[in-house]
Amino acid sequence: MYTDKVMDHFSNPRNVGEIDKASGIGEVGNAKCGDIMRIYLDVEDNKIKDIKFKTFGCGAAIATSSMVTEMVKGKTIDEALEVTNKAVAEALGGLPPAKMHCSNLAADALHKAIEDYKSK
């Protein structure tokens, strides 16, 4: 049901972890729904120097989290803001329809982390 790319990011997730003294942290989802994604940013000169994630959730939740970190690492804040949930799903070669609404929230978590960074 998942593409090879999803399974790759699920079984070898990129950028798992936390950043101590992060420039911004964003979290979406809740444990009740079975998905929590948290993104940590290290921003320098308006660029995402480092990004890490921690996710509680299904295969799609973990794979989209991993993918979004890979997509924006090294990018500027403005470039990162252009990444959508849809783009993340497309980069993974698509997600099963049932997963599009519940587990495809990684870009939202990223945007929240950027908001958090900007508000500081």
Binding site: A31, K32, G34, K54, T55, F56, G59, I62, A98, K99
Partner: protein
């Protein structure tokens, strides 16, 4: 890679004796059991023999067994058929919150048709309170439908006591025995069961065959029309290969029940003890003692069931979960919710159901692989050992609001 199938409550492989017999009924003894000629008579002989084999496993009479396409059809037929035949006597049905959807969805349908249903709550180990059952009985209660063994958590419900109450109050009792049939003893007379549903593919017979036991004298309106098969209770050409396979599987299950149940209980307990010992913050779901042999359901905090199943699958282990992703909705299993287990812990549930093909080596393999997987997923989880834990609502605050 080692492959370990631990999802026997979902389905079982067809055992070789059964597969061999069934094949013969596809190719050689293929007649329509209603035909007059020798082909038909041979098929009929197979069907009637299977009816005896199944009846004898639950101490029923052969003429009280009606073949169906499976457990779901038997549940539908039992519940709808009984209330339709008894609607002049009342409109109230009693069931539990933890039934299989074959029963729950049928009850929901009947509510739309004007029947009233009481869904009994359960304790934290998925058992019912007999006093609550007694109190729920009304003047117009026409049916009690309660499962024998819960498919998700393996708890064995007190059907004999339920049967006693139903008999005293003169109410029809239907039991969904899909998970218990052929695994633990059932005596429809001793337990005062009026109707009982069973399925073939849970006991090493093919998929697409099941049966309904209907006590002689209990009225039942048919759901299907179109022929005199199964004494007009279930018209349609008999699934002869499935029926003979189900019959043989039932007979063999009966013969092997005692030894297999001792073996599976030992393996089950080793698996439960191993998981609880090796994995911190794990818990057993369902009753520890009143539990189906071979049935394990645990919750592993901070991780989500589908990820767990995918990682186990990569290691060759086949299991199931009650997480939302695997229940096909946004909510985790209705059974775990009814037991008062909070969402977060329900999402991290893992069901491992053992069967004939499992060995002690399989248990050792799972106990070696599972803790590593749990550790890997927990290391990714923001709920586990996080540096920045906010005041997240803890499980103790979870309520049963849905």
């Amino acid at each position: 890679m080692r492959r370990v199938y631990m999802d026997h409550s979902a389905t079982t492989p067809v055992r070789s004796e059964v597969a061999q017999l069934v094949t013969g009924y596809f190719t050689e003894t293929f007649g329509n059991a209603s035909s007059v000629h020798a082909y038909g008579r041979d098929a009929r002989k197979g069907v009637e023999n299977a009816r005896e084999q199944i009846a004898s496993l639950i101490k029923a009479k052969p003429e009280e067994i009606f073949f169906t396409s499976g457990g779901t059809e038997a549940d539908n037929m039992a519940i709808i058929g009984t209330v339709m035949a008894n609607r002049d006597k009342g409109k109230h049905i009693i069931t539990t919150q933890i039934e299989h959807h074959a029963v729950l969805d049928t009850c929901h349908y009947l509510e739309k048709q004007g029947f009233e249903v009481t869904y009994l709550p359960v304790s934290d180990d998925a058992n019912i309170d007999l006093n609550q059952l007694k109190n729920a009985i009304r003047e117009d209660t026409i049916l009690i439908t309660i499962m024998h063994v819960n498919n998700e958590v393996g708890t064995i419900l007190p059907i004999k006591e339920v049967g006693q109450i139903a008999k005293e109050k003169n109410i029809i009792l239907h039991v969904d025995a899909v998970q218990s049939f052929g695994k633990i003893p059932i005596d429809v007379n001793e337990m005062n069961i009026d109707l009982l549903s069973a399925s073939g593919h849970k006991i090493y017979a093919p998929k697409g065959i099941g049966c309904l036991y209907l006590r002689k004298g209990i009225k039942l309106s048919p759901l299907f029309f179109g022929g005199s098969q199964e004494r007009k209770r279930r018209p349609g050409t008999e699934n002869v290969p499935g029926i003979v396979g189900f019959g043989l599987a039932a007979e063999l299950a009966g013969k092997e029940m005692e030894a297999e149940s001792i073996r599976l209980t030992m393996l089950r307990d080793k698996l439960i003890d191993g998981i609880l010992e090796k994995i911190p913050e794990s818990q057993l779901n369902g009753s520890r003692t009143k539990r189906l042999p071979g049935h394990v359901n645990v919750s592993l905090r901070y991780i989500e069931g589908e990820s767990l199943l995918l990682m186990l699958d990569m290691k060759g282990i086949a299991a199931s979960s009650g997480s939302a992703c695997t229940s096909g909705s946004l909510d985790p299993s209705h059974v775990l919710m009814a037991m008062g287990i909070c969402h977060e812990i329900a999402h991290g549930s893992l069901r491992l159901t053992l069967g004939k093909i499992n060995t002690e080596g399989d248990i050792d393999y799972v106990l070696e692989v599972l803790p590593e997987i749990v550790e890997k997923l927990r290391s990714m989880s923001p709920l586990f050992n996080s540096m920045q834990i906010e005041n997240r609502e803890e499980c103790s605050k979870c309520t049963l609001t849905k």
